[in-house]
C-alpha cells in the first residue's frame, strides 16, 4: 500500500483500488462528521425538543395524525405533513380562504359528558389556550385530559420566565408509575403558574400572536369525536375494549376501569407523547 514497502509497485490497479477504498472511507467519515456536527448545533440552539416532536410525529401511526380538515370531513383522507403546525400549511390556508370556520352556536360544546368551552382554542395534545386582554395567554388542560388523569399525585411546572416551545413538554403530570409530559400549544415565556387545583396551569407571553395552528369553533366537536375513536382504538389495543357505542360514556369511568399497565400506553397515545 505504501511505496516503501518491499514488493510495492505503482500500477493502474493499485491506483484504482486505493482510490475507491479511500473515497469510500472519506464519504463514510464525512457523513458521520456532518451528522455529529449538525446534532451538536441542535443541542447548542436548544431545539432538541422540536426535533423530538418531529421524530415522534414521524413515528405516529397514520390514524393518529389526520389533517384537521379530514376530521371535519372537508377532505377525503389526508395525513398531516407539517407535524400539526398549520401555520406553514398551504392546504390549510387555501381551505380557510374557501370556508372560514363557522361561528359556533352556543358558548360551549358538550358531549360524552365533557365540556369544551368555545371561548378558547384547543391543541391536539389536549391543552387549551385563551387569549387575555393584555396580550398574554392562559394555558390549561382540557376536560378530556383532566378526566383521563383524574386527580394527579403531583405536577412538575416550569419556572417563571422559562421558555416553553411548541409541542415540547410544557409541564409533566405524575400519577402512580405514569410520568406524562403535556405538550405545549405554543412558543412563549412563562409568566405565572397555576396547577391542577386552579382552573389553569400557565400564564404565558406568546412568542408571536399567530395561533392558527390551534383548533377552534366548530372544529372542536369533530376533533373530540376523533379523539374518542382514538381512545377506543388505544384501549382495545391495550386489551380492554369498552362499549362506547350506546349511551354517553364517561372518560373518567373508562380511565378508572383501565388497568395501570395499559393506562400508561393509553395516556401516551392520547397526549401524542409515547
Amino acid at each position: 500500500m505504501l511505496p516503501w514497502n518491499y514488493g510495492f509497485h505503482w500500477t493502474l490497479g493499485t491506483m484504482i483500488f486505493m482510490g475507491a477504498f479511500y473515497t469510500v472511507l472519506a464519504i463514510v467519515a464525512a457523513t458521520l462528521i456532518s451528522a455529529a456536527w449538525r446534532s451538536r448545533r441542535h443541542l447548542r440552539s436548544g431545539t432538541a425538543e422540536e426535533v423530538r416532536w418531529h421524530s415522534d410525529f414521524h413515528d405516529l401511526p397514520a390514524r393518529d395524525r389526520p389533517c384537521r380538515h379530514q376530521l371535519t370531513g372537508e377532505l377525503e383522507y389526508r395525513d398531516c405533513q407539517n407535524s400539526f403546525d398549520c401555520r406553514q400549511c398551504d392546504t390549510h390556508r387555501t381551505l380557510l380562504e374557501q370556508r372560514p370556520p363557522s361561528k359556533p352556536d352556543g358558548k360551549s360544546y358538550e358531549d360524552f359528558g365533557m365540556t369544551f368551552p368555545l371561548d378558547r382554542m384547543y391543541h391536539r395534545g389536549h391543552t387549551w389556550v385563551r387569549r387575555e386582554r393584555n396580550g398574554t395567554v392562559t394555558i390549561g388542560l382540557d376536560d378530556f385530559g383532566r378526566r383521563l388523569f383524574g386527580k394527579p399525585d403531583s405536577v412538575e411546572l416550569p419556572r417563571k420566565g422559562q421558555r416553553i416551545r411548541l409541542n415540547g413538554a410544557a409541564w409533566r403530570i405524575r400519577k402512580g408509575n405514569l410520568d406524562q409530559p403535556v405538550l405545549s400549544p405554543l412558543n412563549g415565556i412563562v409568566l405565572e403558574t397555576g396547577g391542577p387545583d386552579s382552573e389553569w396551569y400557565l400564564k404565558v407571553r406568546p412568542a408571536h400572536p399567530d395561533l392558527r395552528h390551534l383548533l377552534e369553533g366548530s372544529e372542536v366537536q369533530f376533533w373530540v369525536a376523533g379523539e374518542m375513536e382514538r381512545l377506543q382504538g388505544a384501549l382495545s389495543a391495550a386489551g380492554t375494549a369498552p362499549n362506547m357505542v350506546n349511551g354517553p360514556t364517561d372518560v373518567a369511568a373508562i380511565a378508572a376501569a383501565c388497568p395501570t399497565a395499559c393506562w400508561e400506553a393509553v395516556c401516551g397515545t392520547m397526549f401524542l407523547r409515547p
Binding site: N5, Y6, G7, F8
Partner: protein, 259 residues
C-alpha cells in the same frame, strides 16, 4: 527472501528430474528438511498435515502384477513462471517472485496464514504450519543459520534453497565476480540425491541440464495445460509415466503407499 541487491544477470532457475533414476530413498526429502530447518512431525501429524517441501510419491501404472510398473516421483514447488497462481492470490504480497532468479518464494514474516495460496496451487506443493515448530532438546543446535525457522500458522514451501543462492551471490561478490557460476548454487535435494536423478540449472543457459531436458521429447511437465509454465521438467523413458503429467489421459494411477 527479501533480496536487497540483485545481480545484473537475469536467471530462470529450473529443475529436471529423471524419474527412471529415482530409487525413492528419500535422501532429498531429508536433506531438504535439514537445509531449510523444517521441524520433525509433531504428535498427530499425518501426510496431510506434515511439512514436506520435497515429497516423493510412488506412482504405478494402475496394472496388476506382473504388468504392474511403478516409479518414484519427487514433487516440489514447480515454480510457475506465468500467472503464478499463489503469487496472484496472496492478499498481502507474502508470496514473491524474485525477478533475478524466477524463484517463487514465501515471506513467512508477512504471511497471514489464510491458506488461499494453498487452495490455488494445483501441485499441492504448499504446506501450512499447523503446529508450533518443535525440535528435540539440543537438536536446535543443528539448525541451519542461513534459514529462519517459521512460526505456527504460516505457509511455507520449496524455494529452490533460495538461501543458498544468496550465499552464492555473496561469495561471488566477495570474490569480485559479477555473477555466480553454475556449480556455485545447487539446492540441497540435488546435492543429496545419490542416484543423481535431480539436476538443477538456469533455463536461460542453454548448456544447463534443465534446458537440455526442456528440449528432450521424453521430458514432460505437470499439468502444463493450465498454462502456468512450471519450471520443473520430469523425464522418463516409459510412456505411461510421461502421462502422469496430464490428468485428462493419465492411467488411473492412484498414489499407492510406501515402497
Amino acid at each position: 527472501m527479501i533480496s536487497e541487491k540483485k545481480p545484473g544477470k537475469i536467471s530462470r532457475y529450473g529443475m529436471s528430474v529423471d524419474i527412471d533414476k529415482c530409487t525413492g530413498c528419500g535422501a532429498c526429502m531429508i536433506a531438504c528438511a535439514v537445509e531449510n530447518n523444517v521441524p520433525p512431525a509433531q504428535e498427530g501429524a499425518t501426510d496431510l498435515t506434515g511439512l514436506t517441501w520435497m515429497r516423493v510419491f510412488k506412482v504405478d501404472n494402475g496394472q496388476e502384477y506382473p504388468a504392474k510398473q511403478s516409479v518414484y516421483f519427487p514433487m516440489m514447488c514447480q515454480h510457475c513462471g506465468l500467472e503464478t497462481p499463489c503469487y496472484l492470490v496472496c492478499p498481502q504480497q507474502a508470496v514473491d517472485v524474485d525477478p533475478a532468479t524466477g524463484i517463487v518464494g514465501q515471506i513467512p514474516g508477512r504471511c497471514l496464514g489464510c491458506r488461499y495460496c494453498m487452495a490455488a496451487c494445483p501441485y499441492h506443493a504448499r504446506y501450512f504450519n499447523w503446529w508450533d515448530p518443535k525440535w528435540p532438546a539440543g537438536m536446535e543446535k543443528t539448525l541451519n543459520p542461513n534459514v529462519a525457522p517459521r512460526m505456527r500458522g504460516v505457509v511455507e514451501k520449496c524455494n529452490f534453497c533460495h538461501g543458498r543462492w544468496h550465499a552464492a551471490v555473496q561469495r561471488a561478490a566477495e570474490a569480485g565476480l559479477k555473477e555466480i557460476q553454475p556449480g556455485d548454487y545447487v539446492p540441497a535435494c540435488v546435492e543429496a540425491c545419490p542416484a543423481g536423478a535431480i539436476q538443477f540449472g538456469d533455463l536461460n543457459d542453454p548448456s544447463s541440464a534443465p534446458s537440455k531436458a526442456a528440449k528432450d521429447p521424453q521430458s514432460f511437465r505437470l499439468l502444463v495445460k493450465l498454462g502456468t509454465e512450471p519450471k520443473v521438467y520430469y523425464h522418463s523413458r516409459r510412456e505411461w509415466a510421461r502421462r502422469i503429467g496430464d490428468p485428462s489421459q493419465a492411467p488411473d494411477g492412484k498414489e499407492t503407499s510406501h515402497g
